[in-house]
Amino acid sequence: MSNAVPVQLSAKDFKSDQEVRWCPGCGDYAILAAMQTFLPELGIPRERTVFVSGIGCSSRFPYYLNTYGMHSIHGRAPAIATGLSVSRPDLTVWVVTGDGDALSIGGNHLIHALRRNVNLKILLFNNKIYGLTKGQYSPTSELGKITKSTPGGSSDAPFNPISLALGAEASFVARTIDSDRKHLQSVLRQAAEHQGSAFVEIYQNCNIFNDGAFEVLKDPETRDAYLIRLEHGQPITLGNDGSHVVTHPAGSFGLAVREKADVDPAEVLVHDAHAEDPAYAFALSRLAGPDLRHTPVGVFRSVRRPSYDELVRNQLDAAKAKAGEPEADLAALLNSGDTWTIL
């Protein structure tokens, strides 16, 4: 293997020699393939790319990419990735996680990584089920979900991951779908370009334990009525002919979907991913009901604020600018304070 950085990488360069061991038909395959074909276009050498994951089906992801990677422990990937990212600004660090990993056991690390705006690209594969432990309900499963652990239906309300990320002060929040490679890659591209935490929820089908959870968003028969594609600077519409639009009714905190014919064109909401006030993105995140009708995909919010890495680095650099030879500085440090000499 040559040490020289290849000028042009291909998807093949990012495939590891490990046999992929997800269930046949799993949505993870599509995401992996999309990632492998997308990574070369970033032009980042393989050795500068690191994938850190937790535990769960999605967290096997790093094994299948020929970059640096760590398959860590349940829920802790954002914390481990924070230590790596903050000390190695030369690396591009991706976190791959799932709905159980990120939102249940690792909820605390996720919200704090987002709050700090650590320079991480966090991909949350949401299949609304625990797959690796064979089918228990997850923190994104719908209320009343019947699973092995909830034969009478689950009694707890789910998280809305986009709302949660926005509440945690995330500077980049997006949603995409495993089966739509073009959209997925477009979102990944924007996430990769973002400075700070980029949070991407990927609707991912678990064909074994929760098959078809997102089918209404994929089926050509239904998707136009269910899916809203967000494009910055474009009016927010849905329906194959744009028959419906999104508006902000006066006197309401939330947004509404209305028939285009009933709406003054000036009232149609134009998507602004850079809006400073997160209330707008939050309202968008609440548009979809439990039946997934009116589910926005795309970039909800993308704003620039200093990353944790930058702020930490600035303080380090400022201090280092005043540093001398380390051993001499160390001697001076040890000899500081109230000292005395015995002759």
Partner: protein, 633 residues
């Protein structure tokens, strides 16, 4: 107070001009305990007295003792905070079993500490606080200053608050600020009584209150009022001197264990030429390590105050993966939370230093009190066969060297190391003969830079035959892209493996690589060469055990002493050492955690001596116990 012997009489004139000179007596050792309400500034007062004393060249040992509550209700027993300082003209190992002098700033401080003060000892009380209300608060029916109950002690009644307020009458400060300066008045009086130089305190006050010159002046005036009171009052007929100790030549500073430990971590980073990344979550009594390290960015030290203990160790491990010296500092409850990540580090075979400043448990226990009860957790407290190296610090200064040793093992052997300190050494202080940087170990490491296999491929789990360490191949190194994780790995390749034979091999290899760590032999001290009893210790019991052994030898009783720094792996000669004595006694501030390990490992019938009172052993108690064992051999 066997060591509190008076000298031969007056020794020179140290009094200020204008006052009649008082008689000066020489002492070889004094133990003073400053006690007051949490808000009275006793820690600061003790700290300043210690600094003055250090300047004089005495050997020193200090022991702060404070409640977990920041400000318990004023004037109550739970709110009492104290600071004990021992100083002597010879080298001392402990802050003293009991004080000779108690400074009590209020009735609560008197009541909480009187039992520790032997009859005949000196009490200096702030009479202004002995009001009916304050006396009632702590359950005194009468006033102990008037009812004769202190007859056995040498009591000096001083109106410290009123004297301070009076002395500051001309100062333009609030009454509250004036009253607050009473601790400086007490310090002035004690500084006079023990002939301490006061220049360093004056300089300190100028630094501390630089932004408020009126407080500099007020606190200086309060200090001088206390000093002058000593000069003029008839209450104190004599003052004392403790001559300098014979100490090795060199530069010294007084240092607490937590500060020494933090500086040891900085030094390890410098000597390894690696950035240091500390992940930490605030916890008593370890937070000072985070505070100290956060000041040293110049050395490439990054501190991340994480969202929880688990994240803190995750940050450290992530940084180690990236090629930094990853460290996390905490106390017992935090180690419990970090356990799963430490196991991951065992599987990943990456350097990681986990500092456990032990406190009394279980659960929240006694957060500000000391204990050695995390040893079992350090040795065994993980899922699966997950051995790690364990190192313990024996004194405040030793925290510096133990920290460097922990980093050496972590970096050389690519393993997690648990460094055990405790509340006693963490908060206690002693003079530190500052080391030469070039005398510190060279901790430089080599990162993997290319393929290591004979076939020209890179094998992340191909080991160094000597250390059994795997290559440290950090992200960013071209050609060495590889994946690691918590799943069992195949030998050499590091690929996921469910092969039974491979798992058996890897478990045994992880155990063998900890056993392979090179640790120095344990050294036995027995000047007689004829001792039949060995007293063994680890960690912070070094001081009281050492003082007890010395006292026994001074009386002609033979005893051998050995102290363990490495708890895992144990020194190679330990079995031989244990077998060489008729009896081995092991005092521990737990219920026999190391004793259990050594009995199992070496089949030696160790006499386990235990105490879990949140306080260190006294040397007297150990002396008595050891003598009993020796008699019965």
């Amino acid at each position: 107070m066997a060591e509190h012997r008076e000298g031969t009489g007056p020794a020179g004139q140290l009094s200020e001009p204008g006052h009649p000179a008082k008689e000066i007596h020489q002492l070889d050792r004094v133990v003073i305990r400053f006690a007051g309400d949490s808000g009275d500034g006793m820690q600061l007062t003790g700290d300043r007295f210690t600094s003055e004393t250090a300047q004089l060249g005495n050997d020193i040992s200090t022991l702060p003792n404070f409640p977990a509550e920041i400000r318990a209700p004023a004037g109550t027993l739970p709110g009492v905070s104290s600071f004990q300082v021992a100083f002597a003209d010879y080298d001392i190992l402990t802050p003293g079993d009991a004080p000779n002098v108690l400074v009590a700033m209020n009735p609560a401080a008197l009541k909480a500490n009187l039992a520790d003060l032997p009859k005949g000892g000196t009490i200096i009380v702030n009479t202004d606080e002995f009001t009916k209300r304050n006396l009632q608060k702590v359950g005194y029916d009468g006033n102990p200053l008037e009812d004769g109950s202190l007859a056995g002690w040498d009591v000096h009644k001083v109106g410290l608050t009123s004297m301070t307020v009076g002395a500051l009458a001309d100062h333009t400060i609030s009454k509250k600020d004036a009253e607050r300066a009473k601790n400086m008045c007490a310090l002035g009086l004690l500084s006079w009584l023990y002939s301490r130089p006061h220049a360093s305190t004056m300089a300190f006050l100028e630094r501390k209150f630089a932004a408020r010159p009126e407080l500099v002046a007020a606190n200086k005036a309060a200090f001088e009022a206390g000093w002058s009171f000593g000069e003029t009052t008839e209450s104190f007929a004599v003052r004392y001197e403790v001559p300098p100790a014979q100490m090795a030549p060199g530069n010294y500073r007084n240092i607490t264990g937590n500060t020494a430990l933090a500086l040891g971590l900085v030094a390890a980073g410098v000597r390894a030429q690696l950035p240091v990344v500390l992940g930490a979550y605030p916890i008593t009594p370890a937070s000072d390590i985070l505070h100290e390290l956060s000041k040293h960015k110049k050395f490439g030290v990054t501190t991340v105050q994480a969202e929880d203990e688990i994240a803190a160790v995750g940050v450290a491990l992530g940084a180690s993966y990236g090629g930094a010296l990853g460290i996390t500092s905490t106390s017992g409850p935090g180690v419990a939370l970090k356990s799963e990540t430490i196991s991951l580090a065992v599987a990943l075979e990456l350097p990681l230093v986990v500092v456990d400043v032990q406190r009394a448990g279980p659960s929240t226990g006694l957060p500000t009190k000391t204990e050695q009860a995390d040893l079992s957790m350090a040795l065994h407290g993980r899922h699966g066969e997950a051995p790690v190296a364990v190192v313990a610090a024996q004194s405040p200064v030793d925290c510096f060297h133990a920290a460097i040793e922990a980093c050496r093992i972590a970096l050389t052997y690519r393993t997690p190391v648990i460094l055990l300190s405790d509340g006693y050494v963490a908060n206690g202080s002693e003079p530190w003969l500052l080391p030469e940087i070039s005398d510190l170990p060279d901790l430089r490491v080599e990162f993997a830079s290319g393929p290591n296999g004979e076939d020209g491929k890179f094998y992340p789990y191909l080991r160094d035959p000597q250390t059994l360490a795997r290559p440290w191949a950090v992200p960013g190194t071209p050609g060495l892209e590889h994946r690691i994780g918590g799943l069992e790995k195949a030998d050499k390749t590091g690929d996921i493996s469910y092969d039974p034979a491979n798992h058996d091999f890897m478990v045994r290899t992880r155990a063998a690589r900890i056993e392979a760590i090179d640790v120095p032999d344990v050294v036995v001290e027995d000047p007689s060469g004829e001792a039949k009893v060995l007293v063994l210790g680890w960690g912070s019991t070094y001081g009281p055990i050492g003082a007890a052994a010395r006292a026994l030898r001074q009386r002609g009783v033979n005893i051998a002493q050995a102290h363990l720094r490495h708890l895992n792996p144990l020194p190679k000669n330990l079995g031989e050492v244990l077998a060489a004595y008729d009896k081995v006694v092991l005092p521990e501030m737990n219920l026999g955690q190391l004793a259990q390990v050594l009995r199992a490992r070496f089949l030696v019938d160790i006499v386990s001596y235990n105490q879990v009172r949140g306080l260190p052993f006294t040397s007297t108690q150990l002396e008595t116990m050891l003598e009993e064992v020796i008699k019965n051999v």
